[in-house]
């Protein structure tokens, strides 16, 4: 088989839609990978500026307010207000395409009391804009950290509770396809 045919075959048969296991997007920048690492041992760690106190998200190298090279990861209180939410019916990503076959996927944006606006998965579909929420971080099935919001009165101090919420969303397991490659 000549090389170009080989490439064509690969493109045809190695499509994401044919894979047995589809996972959430794994790709992160090196700063995103640091965010994941910092959050492994914490329910929510964010970059804090030791110079001006600004809380920075998404992760950057310099403080977005004072431009000092003084950002460190610290445990952060995840309370905030849900700004907007949306039900996704369509995705470009195979993992979510498979999850969407079982119903809509709910995501939204939250203004944290600590400052930043975060985009996140919504862990309780009853949440609506202006509701008080608490945000935590958790690894998804690609082993990258994502953020999840639940109602503020939800007790998420135990890591087992957080894991349960992530499991109920279907985020901890890859989306399977019978007979995939």
């Amino acid at each position: 088989m000549i090389a170009s045919e080989k490439i064509k075959r690969r493109l045809k048969f190695h499509r994401p839609s044919l894979r047995a296991r589809a996972r959430a997007p794994k790709q992160r920048t090196s700063l995103g990978a640091q965010f994941s690492a910092a959050n492994l041992s914490s329910s929510l760690a964010m970059q804090h500026c030791t110079h001006c106190g600004y809380v920075q998200y998404p992760p950057t190298e310099l403080c977005g307010r004072c431009l000092e090279d003084a950002l460190v990861y610290r445990d952060t209180i995840g309370t905030g207000v849900l700004l907007a939410r949306t039900e996704l019916h369509h995705s470009l990503w195979e993992f979510f395409k498979r999850r969407l076959q079982q119903g809509t996927w709910v995501m939204g944006s939250v203004k944290l009391d600590a400052g930043p606006v975060v985009l996140l998965h919504i862990g309780d579909i009853r949440l609506k804009p202006r509701d008080r929420v608490i945000v935590f971080s958790h690894s998804d099935n690609s082993q990258s950290v994502v953020l999840i919001a639940v109602p503020e009165d939800c007790d998420i101090t135990e890591s087992s509770t957080r894991h349960e919420i992530v499991g109920s969303l279907g985020l901890d397991q890859p989306a399977l396809k019978e007979g995939g490659i």
Binding site: L83, E87, S91, S109
Partner: protein, 394 residues
């Protein structure tokens, strides 16, 4: 701010729109350059300024393109700023011509659309989107704009029927513009409302279709345009502002609000004088936001405005107030050709003002406003830009 006297915008070219294409960005950019030179009746060696915008050049840059295309510019600009790239190129090029840094500047936006290329663009759009928005489901801009749209609807009481006004009138315009990829289909309000859901309030006809294509125009002195016997449009005023209103938790306004009054003062005309308006319509809510921020109506009155305004190019709609809007159908009907989409409003405006629009010519178009918006780095579009263009006697 200094005026733009003596600057001419010529040879609007739209090239090669296709839903999918085996060609790369350089093919679209080079084709637009070739067509513009043909129309201007000049050789490519006379082009001494080159402004280019593209998302899909990969490892290549504007400099690499000069070698590909065999041109020798003494002034280059590469502003990959998506929805404002056309206006930004126009502003920079106009100053270059005024200051004598270049005589003829070719401004071109072009992007290919290989199989699954849009996924790659969306997945690698910016470091913040890679880390903090791409992983949350939509894997593209639909989620961010769905949040902006639902927030806007809740804040100002806009309904899907109001957004339908924008999409339906634009499709009517596209039906008369042969270059529109969706121009062969009509769109009714019922079809718009019954379309399949995509994300929250966004349904199929709220979303642009990613495609391939190229758009371009040339900037030169009026004297040169006259010598070449080219119909041209002039610039009355322009402005731009980026990352404005960063304090708004969810975007409901753009940078235009910060400079639009001074802009109209410099131009010497107001919104009521405009014969057409071209907004950046990646989603109808963004067009509505621009109508408000550009002063066509008060903030929050966009929904009332679109219902009382006939936005067809030929004034054939029933509402009394006439404002042809996105006269070639905009991206919602033409398709979104990457960076070329940021040029679409500018090329269409030059076509209208120089009487080259053919079947979709706005009758008596004399003054037009074109506005740009773009670059969803994370949760909102950061860029805003606007230009007022005028018909000029040749």
């Amino acid at each position: 701010m200094m005026g733009y006297q003596g600057v001419a915008l010529v040879t609007p070219v739209t090239w090669g729109y296709a839903k999918q294409s085996p060609h790369g960005a350089a093919w679209f950019i080079g084709s637009v350059l070739r067509e513009m030179c043909k129309r201007a009746g000049i050789d490519k060696t006379q082009v001494d300024g080159f402004a280019v915008s593209s998302f899909s050049l990969g490892v290549d840059s504007a400099v690499a393109l000069t070698q590909h295309l065999g041109i020798r510019p003494r002034w280059i600009e590469q502003a990959n700023v998506g929805g404002v790239s056309g206006i930004v190129a126009l502003r920079r090029a106009a100053r270059a011509v005024q200051c004598g840094e270049a005589d003829i500047v070719a401004c071109i936006g072009g992007d290919g659309a290989a199989h699954r290329a849009f996924e790659a663009t969306a997945a690698n759009f910016s470091s913040w989107s890679i880390d903090a928005s791409f992983p949350y489901g939509a894997a593209g801009p639909n989620a961010a704009f769905s949040l902006i749209t639902s927030h806007y609807m809740a804040k100002f009481g806009a309904r899907r029927e109001d957004f339908a006004r924008i999409a339906v009138d634009q499709r009517y315009n596209a039906n008369f513009y042969p270059g529109a990829l969706l121009g062969h289909k009509t769109l009714s309000e019922a079809q718009y409302l019954q379309a399949r859901p995509i994300a929250g309030p966004l349904h199929l006809f709220d979303c642009v279709m990613p495609c391939a294509g190229g758009e371009g125009f040339m900037v030169m002195s009026e004297a040169r345009a006259r010598a070449l016997n080219l119909p041209f449009a002039g610039i009355l005023a322009t402005d731009e502002l980026h990352n404005a209103h960063a304090e708004d938790p969810v975007q409901y306004r753009g940078g235009w609000t910060e400079y639009i009054e001074a802009f109209y003062q410099r131009a010497g005309y107001g919104p009521e004088d405009m014969d057409f308006l071209q907004t950046y319509d990646d989603y109808p809510v963004i067009s509505m936001m621009q109508m408000e921020d550009l002063g066509f109506c008060a903030k929050g009155n966009g929904r009332q405005f679109v219902n009382e305004t006939d936005m067809r190019f030929d004034h054939s709609g029933s509402p009394k107030y006439k404002l042809p809007h996105n006269t070639c159908g905009g991206q919602l009907s033409c398709g979104q050709a990457g960076s070329a989409a940021g040029f679409l409003g500018v090329t269409e405006s030059i076509r209208q003002l120089t009487g080259q629009a053919g079947n979709h010519q706005v009758p008596g178009a004399r003054l037009g406003l074109v506005s740009g918006y773009g670059m969803v780095n994370y949760d909102r579009g950061l860029c805003s830009a606007v230009a007022m263009l005028t018909r000029t006697k040749t």
